[in-house]
């Protein structure tokens, strides 16, 4: 048995990089340091189906195995012939694959978008409005005396997050947890909330009201009501006092606030609160609790190549950005989209009904290792070698720190990047021959 050390975990945005994989006969037989969900990612779920070969759905609905060349050819044909293709997902693949993806979108005049569209998209919109005062996770570990988890439950969704950054000792917080105060904002009595020194049990969907009250109290205004958003006034005062006297505070926030009614307005208010807290002599920052291990990486790649983090539409030849018009769900729900390419995401499980209806009507190509609700809808399935397990590549943690994901075991499958590269080359070939035909036509057509 071989032990491979310092492996970054390709599951959640915490991107723990201290996993040890036990490898025997080109198979991961065990892990150390990983949490339950990280472990099962390395081991693949026992009950999950892993695809071994590409498949194409026949007219009768049956999936038949095909060679990779055929699958790629067919996928390219669909995309080249589509008028309004969407390339969606990108959050569980490498940045190197994301880069090829952006070029493929550009070449196809397609729309490219990632899972932020259904999770932290509102946070990105709030960044446009108010900014992005963040820090890396080590700053929290070394300096933070106040930590807030708002609308997220790391004990379940990011299981090692708290042990690495809250319980752990840091340079200026030598005792770890006893040196810190924990505030949790969550309507539920979650496992994270149970650990809190102060639990603000906000009514569901009332985050904005609570933030507003906090900001008002920070500025010295009186709160006129006994309860705001279900939280007693005195508890709000208590929390505000704590925040204002913090030496270093950080706000972690999750999808519970990005996806409830006020969406980006919630985050606007949250960011403003953090910005204002820096005016009381202490330091305050925030970090969004990103879900997929490389959802942040796509946003970065898409931004440095196009200028925008997601929802980028190449229909006009240059990158255009207008979330609400150029988002995956917008194009699906208004039935504009006529083909969809999915990679590193499972919209079949997460999209609203109206979008799924459109996905059923149009050809769907899935680059996906497992059987998922999306592959159930797919016409072509191409399983890739999984990044961080059987192929290498770069990923960006929730705080922007990036890692080289390791190749632990060999696979005969192509990596996401290789599949995309081959598709891109084919698309370019087809476009080149088309434009040649065009020019021949121009020359031979009689003068008008």
């Amino acid at each position: 048995m071989e032990l491979i050390k310092n492996v970054p975990c390709p599951f959640c945005g915490t991107l723990c990089d201290d996993i040890i994989c036990k490898v025997e006969n080109n198979e991961i037989v065990g892990t150390m340091n990983a949490c339950r969900i990280g472990h099962s990612k390395f081991m693949h779920h026992k009950d999950a189906t892993l695809y071994k070969k590409p498949m194409i759905r026949k007219a009768n609905g049956e999936l038949v195995e095909v060679e990779i060349d055929e699958a790629i050819e067919k996928a390219v044909e669909i995309l080249v012939n589509a008028k309004r293709p969407i390339l969606y997902g990108w959050s569980s693949v490498s940045c190197e694959a994301d880069e090829v993806g952006v070029e493929l979108a550009e070449e196809l005049k397609a729309l490219i978008d990632n899972t932020a569209t259904v999770c932290h998209g509102p946070s990105l919109l709030a960044v446009h409005d108010t900014g992005y005062p963040v820090c890396t996770l080590g700053e929290v570990k070394n300096r933070a005396d106040v930590i807030i988890y708002w609308a997220c439950n790391p004990m379940h969704a990011h299981p090692r997050h708290m042990s690495r950054h809250y319980f752990s000792r840091g340079y200026f917080r030598e005792r770890g947890r006893p040196d810190r105060t924990l505030i949790v904002v969550d309507p539920r009595e979650s496992d994270t909330a149970k650990l809190a020194d102060i639990h603000l049990q906000v009514e569901p969907g009332k985050d904005y009201e609570l933030l507003d009250a906090i900001r008002a109290a920070m500025k010295g205004h009186k709160i006129l009501y006994e309860n705001v958003a279900g939280v007693p006034r005195d508890l709000i005062y208590q929390a505000v006092e704590l925040l204002k006297s913090a030496q270093f505070g950080n706000l972690f926030f999750g999808m519970g606030i990005t996806q409830t009614s006020a969406k980006n307005r919630n985050i606007d208010a949250g960011i403003c609160a953090i910005e204002e807290l820096n005016e009381y002599g202490g330091k305050f920052t925030l970090i969004p609790m990103r879900g997929h291990y490389n959802v942040n990486g796509f946003n970065h790649v898409c931004t440095w190549t196009t200028g925008y983090p997601f929802c980028v539409d190449f229909a006009t030849g240059y990158p255009r950005y207008n979330p609400g018009e150029t988002g995956t769900n917008d194009l699906l729900q208004n039935k504009e989209a006529d083909a969809m390419f999915v990679i590193g995401a499972d919209p079949g499980a997460h999209f609203p009904q109206r979008a799924l209806q459109r996905m059923v009507e149009i050809p769907v190509i899935a680059i996906e290792p497992h059987r998922t609700p999306t592959t159930e809808l797919a016409d072509i399935i191409i399983p890739p070698a999984q990044i961080g397990i059987s192929s290498e590549g770069t990923a960006y943690r929730m705080d922007g720190v990036c890692f080289t994901m390791k190749k632990i075991i060999d696979s005969d499958l192509l990596s996401d990047k290789e599949i995309l590269k081959r598709m891109l080359e084919r698309v370019k070939e087809i476009h080149a021959s088309e434009s040649k035909m065009e020019s021949v036509k121009e020359v031979t057509s009689p003068a008008k």
């Binding site: 050390k5 310092n6 070029e103 409005d129 700053e139």
Partner: protein, 569 residues
């Protein structure tokens, strides 16, 4: 492939060539003595020939640059490019996307550009973007002025240990030079504070900016790096800060430059000094102290500076000077991004609008111009906008035109700028005009020399890389002083650009957008025994204080398309 560039007027200060009509021969990517009969002829008669431009200080890649793009779709929308043939699409006026950045520098005849601020922990990100920045040769400066290891070594007087650590870090991050930003101030910002001047110690660490600068300059020369310490002084943007600037410069005065590669003769580089040449005590009595700074430069040879010229645009400021950006945010009330990086550094990003109607901005413009025009030797000064802080690099052609034409400047001063430009600075009294030779110095030669790259960059002598720019301006028949609009136009879009001996711009059109440039980094071999000890100590602290394992910190060669290590032994 062989080329001969015929009959151009050549400006090549490193070889003392000032507008001589001569031919430049190119073979296999290099400038050579002569070429064969079959060499392709590029006719440059009636045109200017210079080496490819060398950018010593810009922000084009990495986390804060990208947050600048991400935060500002309104800036991206202002300038967009569609895909065309092999040329990728892109967007961004003040912070262009990576491909556009490569294209636009190249179109101006620039072939080398240095990213001036790389957080070591996030070096991968910087290099990922540099790989996507085509054509240009590049490098990146790791930020060390608020690094905990450095602060501890220097506090204990362990300069050699510090040097060993830096030697390792340069290899680990594929870095090129030591960058120091607001030494100790960014660490103070970890607690929401700042330091003031060079003698105010960092909280908890107890070391001062002055001690950091001195120790790092010593370590730099101990290792023998090609470039000097690259310093962004304390107190950026504060009225009265010129005293801090002069005191900082003086620290390196008696430390001798000892590069083990290249021809650098300075021991300290001061960056975007326009932002550090302010007099007065508040914005009310704010005034230029550029003459004092220029006077210091005229009297001392251990220092060179870049200017950070204000271009009077709406732009995006971004720097590792975290507390400064927060102040700017409270001043403007615009949006604010920040990213503090564990054990190392911080950064901030804030949009900013420089207006010619604003008294302070007008004076800032004048201060930059004064630095250019009062510093006698263009071998000590370089043209930058600290892109995008004082304005986007795409405004270089305009700065060139301002420098070459006092009429252009005076029109601006008389008709557009706020009266403070004249009242609070001496700009209106200066009629010096730069020659093309001076321009070649401040845009290429000086930077190549102080970066330690002048063996192959910044000149057109035999053996240099065949990076050449041709501009359609005839100095025999045209007068830059009166025809400044033509100057601006020709430096915006070169007639021809060669990169490594290949034509990338032809007749004013970028024809080869897919070429990869080199990534320069220093492969330091300092004191291997000492380095071992130092690194085992560093490893222990890694486990305790970083959130990244030591083994995952070093970045591999895979993050460079054309790795160009400079061996320092």
């Amino acid at each position: 492939m062989e080329y001969i560039i015929k009959n151009g007027m050549v400006y090549d200060p490193l070889n003392n060539i000032d507008g001589e009509k001569m031919d430049i021969c190119i073979r296999d990517g290099k400038i050579v003595e002569s070429v064969g009969e079959s060499a392709e002829v590029v006719d440059a008669s009636g045109k200017i020939v210079m080496a490819g431009g060398v950018e010593p200080h810009t922000h084009i890649a990495g986390p804060k640059v990208n947050v600048g793009r991400m935060m500002r779709p309104e800036d991206s929308e202002k300038d967009v490019e569609a895909k065309s043939g092999d040329r990728r699409s892109g967007s961004g006026f003040s912070v262009p996307s990576t491909f556009m950045t490569g294209y636009r520098y190249t179109e101006m005849g620039y072939t080398t550009a240095m990213e001036a601020a790389m957080p070591p922990l996030i070096a991968r990100h910087v290099h990922e973007e540099l790989v996507d920045t085509p054509i240009l040769d590049k490098g990146a400066y790791p930020l060390l002025g608020n690094n905990w290891f450095v602060m501890e070594y220097l506090k204990n007087g362990e300069v050699e240990e510090c040097a060993a650590y830096i030697a390792w870090l340069m290899r680990a991050t594929k870095g090129y030079a030591i960058k120091v930003v607001n030494p100790c101030g960014t660490e103070a910002w970890g607690w929401g504070g700042n330091v003031h001047g060079i003698n105010d110690p960092a909280p908890k660490f107890g070391i001062t900016g002055a001690e950091m600068i001195k120790g790092l300059v010593e370590a730099n020369e101990m290792i023998g790096l090609p470039h000097s310490v690259h310093l962004h002084c304390n107190d950026l943007g504060h009225p009265g800060n010129y005293e801090t600037t002069l005191a900082s410069f003086d620290i390196a005065k008696n430390i001798k430059a000892s590069p083990k590669y290249g021809e650098r003769d300075i021991s300290l580089y001061g960056t975007h000094v326009q932002f550090h040449s302010y007099g007065g005590t508040s914005w009310r009595d704010f005034e230029s102290e550029a003459p004092a700074i220029a006077d210091y430069l005229n009297k001392n040879d251990h220092i060179a500076i870049d200017v950070g010229q204000i271009t009077l645009d709406e732009t995006t400021t971004m720097t590792a000077d975290g507390p400064m950006e927060f102040d700017l945010y409270t001043l403007t009330g615009f949006k604010w991004a920040n990213c503090d990086v564990e054990l190392e550094t911080g950064s901030g990003v804030v949009p900013f609008i420089y207006s010619s109607k604003n008294p302070v901005h007008s004076t800032q413009w004048a201060i930059g111009m004064e630095l250019f025009l009062l510093t006698k030797d263009p071998g000590k000064i370089m043209m930058t906008t600290d892109h995008p802080n004082a304005g986007p690099f795409t405004r270089y052609p305009r700065i060139i035109a301002w420098l070459m034409s006092s009429k252009y400047r005076n029109d601006l001063i008389e008709n557009e700028l706020h009266a403070w430009a004249q009242k609070r600075s001496s700009i209106a009294t200066i009629d010096r005009e730069y020659s093309l030779y001076d321009i070649a110095q401040v845009t290429r030669a000086t930077a190549a020399r102080v970066l330690g790259l002048s063996e192959t960059k910044g000149h057109l002598g035999v053996g240099a890389d065949a990076d050449v720019a041709i501009y359609s301006f005839n100095p025999e028949t045209q007068d830059a002083s009166s025809d400044y609009m033509t100057i601006e136009a020709v430096f915006r879009m070169a007639d021809h650009v060669f990169k490594d001996g290949e034509i990338v711009v032809k007749n004013g059109e970028l024809v080869k957008p897919r070429i990869d440039g080199r990534t320069y980094w220093v492969n330091c071999h300092f004191n291997e025994e000492l380095e071992k000890n130092v690194i085992s100590d560093v490893k222990k602290k890694f486990k305790q204080y970083y959130t990244v394992n030591f083994e995952n910190y070093e970045i591999g060669d895979g993050y460079m398309r054309r790795s160009a290590p400079i061996e320092i032994k």
